[in-house]
Symmetry: C2
Subunit: 131 residues, 2 copies
């Protein structure tokens, strides 16, 4: 698939997440999707994203950087959100925090097949300790 | 610059780091390079990398994933290294740890102009607490 088409698909996937359009998630995410090396499957992937929206009512995925080739997308996502309770093991408790996630997606047959994500936990720790 | 040429340049930059060829770092890194939003400059950038090699004698940059377009590179770097003392504020003390870094590079005039890096600190914490 041309890189531009992969990038367009990825942006549509992000729109799907932001509108919590779970019925259509399978348009973008493969049945046997892997997340950080673990086979989670489409159902597990959907459940994880739904749980995130429950724990973070103002969750929104904001693409700052997008690099695509014919099979991969790399994206830097910015978040400016207020997780309830603990988040990544940190006691955020509804405070508003800003951080980024640098994440790679491998596409196979037009759908996300593997995700490798790293969230900037150190940035969140710095904001909590400064507060 | 075509994406393939940007990818080749990036691989040459990684070889430059791994061979600690500091005299030639300026071939790949711009004078006014920014790192995570901060203007560090070529000298500051070089000093930071040199300090890393001093603190981590077995440091080696290993590219697992590389996505490039005509101005950007996204790279997932794997590390299997033994930092002396503290590393990212964690008491590693020479233990061998494995982790990844997801990082974006913006090129301008054929050189790295901006870097946005996130290291998987949570993976390191998990290894230290399991030990």
């Amino acid at each position: 698939m041309p890189a531009e088409r992969v990038a367009d698909l990825y942006r549509a996937y992000i729109d799907c997440l932001n509108s919590q359009d779970w019925e259509n998630l399978g348009i973008y995410v493969g049945q046997d999707v892997r997340y950080n090396g673990v086979l989670v499957g489409l159902d597990g992937y959907r459940q994880a994203r739904e749980a995130e929206f429950r724990a973070i009512p103002d969750l929104r995925f904001d693409v700052q950087i997008l690099v695509a080739d014919d099979t991969m997308v790399a994206s830097r996502l910015n978040f400016d959100i207020s997780p309830q309770g603990t988040f990544l093991g940190l006691p955020v408790n509804g405070r508003r925090i800003s951080f980024s996630e640098n994440v790679f997606y491998e596409f196979a047959e037009g759908k996300i097949a593997s995700v490798w994500s790293i969230v900037d936990k150190a940035a969140i720790e710095a904001q909590l300790s400064a507060a």
